[in-house]
Amino acid sequence: MTAGNPATTGHPGSAAENQARWLIRGITIPGEGEQGARVTDMLLSGGSITAVESGLNHSGARVLDAEGLIALPGLVDLHTHLREPGREDAETVETGTAAAALGGYTAVHAMANTDPVADTAGVVEQVWRLGRTAGHCDVQPVGAVTSGLAGTRLAELGTMADSAARVRVFSDDGRCVSDPLLMRRALEYVKAFDGVIAQHAQDPRLTEGAQLNEGEMSARLGLAGWPAVAEEAIIARDCLLAAHVGSALHICHVSTAGSVEIIRWAKSKGWPVTAEITPHHLLLTDEFAAGYDPVFKVNPPLRTAADVAELRRALADGTVDCVATDHAPHPVEAKETEWAEAAFGMTGLETALRVVQLAIVDTGLLDWAGVADRMSVRPARIGRLTGQGIPLAVGAPANLTLYDPAAPAEAVVSVGASKSRNTPFAGMELPGRVVATFLRGVPTVLDGKLA
């Protein structure tokens, strides 16, 4: 096995392969506060940003008029289900990364709950190679924490770390590493290669058969409750474990106000804890389950308006580090059924940035520089990616997303690049539009379409 980094040696956009240059005219680069934002031109060449200044002229370069658009460092998703291998009927690396590019992403972390599970070097390398072939964005495989996600013994974490896929994030996502001893060992073990354990916090006993946030809605609808405490108890335990062994813990899809409080406390102690939140938990509540449409069935479940408000604040103040989509495609038949029979999960890559604009930016909680931090810089840092999440400046890799926040709000359609249609936002009007995405200087999306 050869060690390599998809961010620096990936084929699409590597200098040797593509010499096309792009001159992006009149782009707005957000900065800290209002005065920090500046309108400028930007030259992309050889996979990097080679110039950032007004009045740039470069003969031979292709020109993109970006007036009114903002530039963000290419978005990085810490939590994507690409479903390949095993469930190619729901999504493939090709279709999932196409959806990612259309959503403005230049890198995604592919979750391990495939079939076979990504718990060996062989599977993570396969996913990594499929990502390089597809070329719409970088695909960084996540390795399983336990063999077969069974929660009984550790997967070969070190071998996955040493593989060509260079795995650093490990997660049994979909299942919780509920055994406290196993969780402790996993946290300790990955210190050897600067790994991080991304926990799906869900006490299994407290959530047996759980269908919907335990509260007024679950009581009214007669659906088995998924109590907030089942998430919060695991987060509290794992924060204490992370502090005890001095290793990095990342909390997947935080969904309750109580979880935020615990994470805030852990961070105040200086403990190595990070956390993510999904777009759907920033916008939707359990009230959406009233019609029993399983497109709103997700794990962790949609919570209350009070939780949504607190999660928004937590993302804005940095208690929650980043937005991660938990893009979870499912075929039509998995959702066109009774609620209890339906699969958990929602797609999200193609709508994430627009949802964040609606929930966080247009509400005045966070500016675009903050969005760049929460959707690119911090997730790349948590995922230990080297060529992603780098602020837009001369010398940085030319990974960027051009976004039009002033685009008139349009209703979301369920059919996109993803193979699946289980978007909860179908029919909702969301602002903004991803105009272009560049991966190491090569457009993967232009004029809102795959390039």
């Binding site: 269908q211 335990e214 509260g215 007024e216 679950s218 009581a219 009214r220 609808l221 007669g222 659906l223 088995a224 409750g225 109590p227 019609g291 029993y292 038949e333 066109e336 059924t337 009774e338 609620w339 209890a340 029979e341």
Partner: protein, 333 residues
């Protein structure tokens, strides 16, 4: 707005009274030598039962037949989604067969709601998971009204008297006892009886009450004994076998001791109070045999009233009434 009956929450007070009053009209048929009405001749009612429930299926079947509808019984028991046909495909099949109404009993909460999105005909919820069982609540309300508003009105139980038309259940105190958490009967009854003006109290161990029960239109008590003396109606819920071993309570004996209705507890009820049970009963667990068989027990009456009430619902829905209803269609004789 709605041509279905899926939740008791869909019924306004006027809707509920319309159904109860229609049921009273139809009940008078039972005294005739020929019990059948031609009203639904040529209409097809499908009983789609994913769970075994002989009593509910037979009740709906008798109701539809007395209205001269063609009845198709579709027992889909055991055909869980994993193995058999999906609910949607079954719905499309029934649709193609021209079902005017589908009566569905299903183990999943929301199944009736989902079905209503896939068929053109009316959907009647005959129990969906731990969600609702609205016709059970209607027949319970019908039974209570007959017992308490018959004759001159006011609390004077006289057995099978005729309920007063247009009367609600205002001020009557109903105590529902037992596994509220998993009970579709309790959910529908809390909604309907409170809509009709009754004061509902749930009496149960805290483990068998929904976490958010405080948002319901009823009172809550953990102590059955303190509720007995002020109850006009005590409704006992069945304790399902699978709850008995899942840490909801320490043992069946302890449950029975604290929340079972035995002769001693029955003696503490007001003289006029009645005892209800949706059936099937666990004699000796939630209700003692001497209580079930006492004169206060309305259990057999509830079964008879079930047919009448379901006739009223079928009659109204298939006759074009939408809930909430605006006018009172006369019963055709």
């Amino acid at each position: 707005m709605k041509r279905h009956l899926i939740s008791a929450a869909d019924l306004s007070r006027a809707d509920a009274l319309l159904i109860l009053d229609t049921a009273e009209e139809l009940a008078s048929l039972a005294d005739r030598p020929i019990k059948k009405l031609p009203t639904l001749r040529g209409r097809t009612v499908v009983n789609l039962f994913y769970e075994d429930s002989t009593r509910t299926r037979i009740s709906f079947e008798a109701a539809a037949k007395r209205l001269s509808a063609d009845v198709i019984n579709f027992s889909a028991k055991g055909s869980s989604v994993g193995k058999g046909e999906s609910l949607k495909d079954t719905a499309l099949t029934l649709e193609a067969m021209g079902a005017d109404a589908v009566v569905i009993r299903h183990g999943a909460s929301g199944a009736a709601h989902r079905l209503a999105g896939w068929v053109q005909g009316s959907v009647l919820n005959a129990g969906d998971g731990t969600h609702e069982h609205p016709t059970q609540a209607l027949l319970d309300a019908f039974t209570i009204r007959r017992r308490f508003t018959g004759g001159s009105g006011g609390p004077s139980p006289r057995g099978n008297t005729v309920g007063a038309r247009g009367a609600g259940l205002d001020g009557l105190r109903v105590t529902i006892v037992g596994d509220v958490l998993h009970s579709r009967v309790a959910r529908s009854n809390v909604l309907l009886l409170s809509t009709l003006g009754a004061e509902v109290t749930l009496a149960a161990p805290p483990t068998l009450l929904p976490h958010a029960v405080g948002s319901w239109p009823c009172a809550v008590s953990y102590d059955l004994d303190s509720e007995l003396a002020k109850s006009d109606v005590v409704m006992m819920l069945r304790v399902q076998q699978e709850r008995m071993t899942a840490a909801y309570f320490p043992s069946v004996r302890e449950y029975s001791r604290r929340y079972g209705l035995d002769a001693a507890r029955m003696a503490r009820l007001p003289e006029h109070a009645i005892v209800m049970h949706p059936g099937p009963m666990n004699r000796g667990v939630e209700i003692a045999a001497e209580v079930a068989d006492s004169v206060r027990s309305t259990i057999v009456e509830q079964v008879a009233n079930g047919v009448t009430t379901r006739m009223a619902v079928l009659y109204l829905l298939l006759g074009g009434t939408e809930f909430p209803a605006t006018e009172f269609p006369a019963v055709t004789r």
